[in-house]
Subunit: 424 residues, 2 copies
């Protein structure tokens, strides 16, 4: 059985151990919610302050050119591209994941309307993150298409000849289960469907290679494993074979070929720039760039492959410690045990008390989160994000130790841990 | 003829003179571009720094509740409501102007589809800000509607029985000309059309009363006269008679009635919350709130009416000084002379050299901007925003004095002022 000292020894040997110094983390907290909001990069305070005071305050309107504000969606997009197997000029950082999904799904449906007009079904998973389903639902209603939600994970069975677009989240927000992007993309395309990937729980968390997978479209989130700060702008990627075929309906001036000609007719920019719409929130973009730099700082240390190795070591350790130390407390494991099916989070289930256990852990400084089940197939989840940039083996040990204590003492049954409020 | 001393005397008597102290403005600069990017509120640096360090860094995910991040779109919306004649709970601060226009125009077209299915035309002005036209163009294409662009300002003539929606910007970005919102709304509604107003150059600049006008929908910008910082989130308002009739297609989880139930089916929130979509950029929202507070600080001093009086005094002064001091230099006035037709900016024209004159002024520290004409009806524009919160009478005097010198000495003909680059 691994001890705290064993875990500290693993941390001392961790080749990525210096990356934690790039972050400011509060004392007394074991933060296992970087899959919901990444931690604060140490560089962010000064860079945001400079953007506020020097760029906005002193530079004023001149900073659009002088401080490179105009170039941020593309410049940040190029940094994201390095993490997801895209090429320079193929990604823009902009808007929100939901809005970017609307753009790429609209574009995908326009392609289908021309290339395969008989196809009328969009397929996704019932356990997908709801906003993806809502956006798909809205677009399907508007276009008289049908949204089919798979209940299980038998993607191939769902790929009937009617399917126009397969829209999946690579790593499930609820269970941490990961699809085989290349295999699923290949299977879907072989059956004539386009594939849209949501990388919200993948970018910066697990290796992604969109080109190797031959994917069609992708979107993702800036504020989880990319550490871009609360509500950081999201990103979108379109395979170059599709980019210039159609424009997307959120056709704002930033996506125009020449926005400062102020012409009344829309003329889409070539390439991914046509997926821009309006003016971007620059202060939040500055923070996002700091976050991206923390992930790219791993490149000389082995990059995403090294982060992945550490992530798997952390989730393996979590599983091992829960099995050894929390035995008999009715905990189940919703996250797949096979490495190739697992993202960078660990999800436990319990028949009762999941919400209260999470609250009791938070009160002890172990911050994970709770995700409600649906009363049926999907159980309530205790969710722990293991962000390899700043999570240590000893953090995992502490988290499981507190979990053990909360269960052993029935501390979670205290009334204050059973009062519900909004959680993210 | 007014002297610099006269202008300084006017500043000394200005009942709003203390409001300038709410801003940090660079030395040696006369900033007349607050209609493009508002100046930095003095409070913003500390508030953004606290949001970065305490809220994000130390509070981490807990700040969604503890720091009130969840409530920001509505809380900031309520502050905006006070400036535009809307009621609490009717406005949300979110996304970009372009995206919000897409939402409200989509909703308007859904209403028309049910209430007046024969109507098939969206009317706007050819001189409207292009992003509004691009969004309308995209939606019209998708819905097989026709977008009709008026070349002049004869709105009533354009209001044929085919018109579904009239979409106008209240104050024209190019000329500073202002529509009579109440009269135009009344005329359009009497002819069976819905009316969408873009308040980008109105909110915080001129008094707006959406309820008194009986408007149907409105959107607006956070980074101009609301001083929200570069790319600050925008806002949207929907009249309560329409809000709950339809949902808008950007149906993300933040617009769901219960986002943390994570149900796979979209159920729109009641009221304006259904116009939210994804997670908002919190750092930029924090700066926007600082900006809103600068405008609301005028409330005890007479609010928008007092700001309007000062704005008109400044634009009157600019016109008077240009007439007196720049005579014979071929300058024309694109901004209407009648008060009730004028926003809070002053727009000059000249047959040649407008771009270079603006550049020469910027080199002298007088920051206005240039807007290209269309080679036809719309001439090139030298644009000066006169933001009553922080612009002084003496700033107007200095700006016109520099303009006079640039013209008298033909300084603008120097090659360095004739090299084009991107401008906002």
């Amino acid at each position: 059985m691994k001890t705290l000292q064993d875990c500290q020894a693993l941390d001392a040997q961790d080749p990525l151990r210096t990356l934690r110094d790039l972050f400011e983390l509060p004392g007394g907290v074991t933060y296992l919610d970087g899959n919901s909001l990444g931690a604060l990069p140490r560089a962010a305070a000064a860079r945001v302050a400079a953007a506020v005071h020097q760029q906005w305050g002193m530079g004023l309107i001149r900073s659009w050119n002088d401080a490179g504000w105009f170039d941020m969606p593309g410049r940040l997009g190029d940094k994201i591209a390095r993490l997801i197997g895209a090429r320079p000029g193929e990604v823009v950082a902009t808007d929100t994941t939901s809005i970017n999904l609307y753009k790429v799904l609209s574009a995908a449906l326009r392609i289908v309307r021309v290339d395969a007009p008989g196809r009328s079904v969009v397929v996704s998973e019932r356990s997908n993150f709801p906003t993806d389903l809502y956006i798909a639902q809205a677009l399907c209603q508007e276009s008289s298409l049908r949204l089919h939600l798979m209940d299980g994970d038998d993607v191939e069975a769902a790929l009937t000849p009617e399917v126009a677009v397969l829209m999946l989240t690579h790593v499930n927000y609820r269970t941490g289960a990961m699809h085989d992007m290349a295999a699923v993309t290949r299977a879907a395309q072989a059956r004539g469907s386009l594939v849209v990937w949501d990388l919200a729980h993948s970018a910066g968390a697990v290796p992604v290679d969109l080109h190797a997978a031959g994917a069609d479209f992708a979107v993702g989130c800036g504020y989880k494993y990319l550490n871009g700060g609360p509500g950081a702008p999201a990103f979108c990627w379109v395979h170059p074979r599709h980019t210039d075929r159609f424009w997307q309906p959120l056709a704002g001036w930033w996506g125009h070929a020449a926005p400062f000609e102020f012409t009344p007719e829309y003329r889409p920019a070539p390439g991914i720039a046509r997926y821009l719409c309006g003016t971007q929130p620059i202060l939040s973009m500055v923070a996002l760039e700091c976050g991206l730099d923390t992930v790219l700082a791993a490149e000389p240390l082995g990059g995403m492959a090294a982060l992945r190795a550490k992530s798997l070591a952390l989730t393996d350790l979590f599983i091992e410690l829960v099995e050894q130390r929390c035995d008999g407390h009715g905990l189940g494991m919703a996250t797949p045990l096979e490495h190739e099916r697992r993202g960078s989070q660990l999800c436990l289930t319990r028949d009762v008390g999941s919400y209260a256990i999470v609250q009791a852990l938070i009160a002890r400084g172990v911050i994970g989160d709770f995700r409600a089940g649906d009363g049926g197939r999907y159980k309530d989840i205790l969710r722990f994000g293991l962000t390899p940039l700043y999570t240590r083996h000893q953090d995992v040990w502490q988290a499981v130790e507190h979990l053990r204590q909360v269960l052993d003492t029935a501390e979670w049954q205290r009334p204050e841990f059973n009062q519900k409020h909004a959680v993210t």
